[in-house]
Symmetry: C2
């Protein structure tokens, strides 16, 4: 069921992707789908074996709290399994430009908490994820506007 | 000189934009240029009058510490002028997908400090900026990998 839910979530995201004015290449479309599936396998299913199939020959990591390479991802997924088994990452928006895919995510480590806003940038080569940057910020209790962080 | 530097910075960024595999529309290209110019006018030149020319009929703000609308931007620019006149924002990467432009930025409020990594998402309508989301994170002193946040 988790696998089907992930595929459905990925499909609905692809359908809900921003308007692209007819310019999206087949590779950009595939890159978006690959990143959404990779993200769900890694952060929601917490399944390194499934997620690693989306990785290319390297995984250059720029997140300062994650170790480099596929082994860093494996360690991070294990950390989530151990410490935050109920954590959920909901992709709110997905964009593609050439070899890059950007996702805007609401990540909640413990149910009932406000969680964090995260924007990830993935670089792909031949449809495989090879590099990752991200920025994360706590969703505050109060804000100076009523629009929400998403 | 500041204006010329901004234009040159904008031009060099456009030239250094990610490979787009021939799929970028003229509107996406213009949107990238408009956002880079808007960003430099607002955050480096700190010139609300110049920046506001890039805004559309609304400016829906999702940054939780900024007030909504053009007046929120005016207030934020005034805050920078008053408190951090030497602050600089360097755009490292710029992406476009349909009506959206995403920038990955190294923002330094006081010279000599490590600053923050920021990823902004702008929505444009007819080439004008109408909505903004962002996420910001301090660049840490030490990291679990040697790749840097950018």
């Amino acid at each position: 069921m988790i696998r089907i839910a992930s595929i459905l979530a990925a499909a609905s995201l692809i359908l809900a992707a921003p308007s692209v004015q007819g310019a999206e290449t087949a590779q950009e479309k595939a890159n978006k789908q690959n990143v959404v599936e990779f993200y769900n396998k890694a952060l929601n299913d917490k399944d390194f074996a499934a997620a690693s199939k989306y990785l290319g020959p390297r995984y250059t990591q720029h997140n300062p709290v994650a170790a480099d390479g596929p082994e860093g991802l494996r360690g991070f997924i294990q950390f989530l399994r151990d410490k935050f088994p109920q954590s959920r990452s909901e992709i709110k928006r997905v964009f593609a430009d050439g070899d890059y895919v950007i996702v805007h995510v609401h990540a909640i480590r413990e149910p009932g908490t406000r969680g964090r806003a995260i924007i990830d940038i993935f670089k792909l080569e031949n449809g495989k994820v090879v590099e990752h940057w991200d920025v994360a910020q706590d969703v505050p209790e109060k804000a100076a506007n009523s629009n929400g962080m998403f």
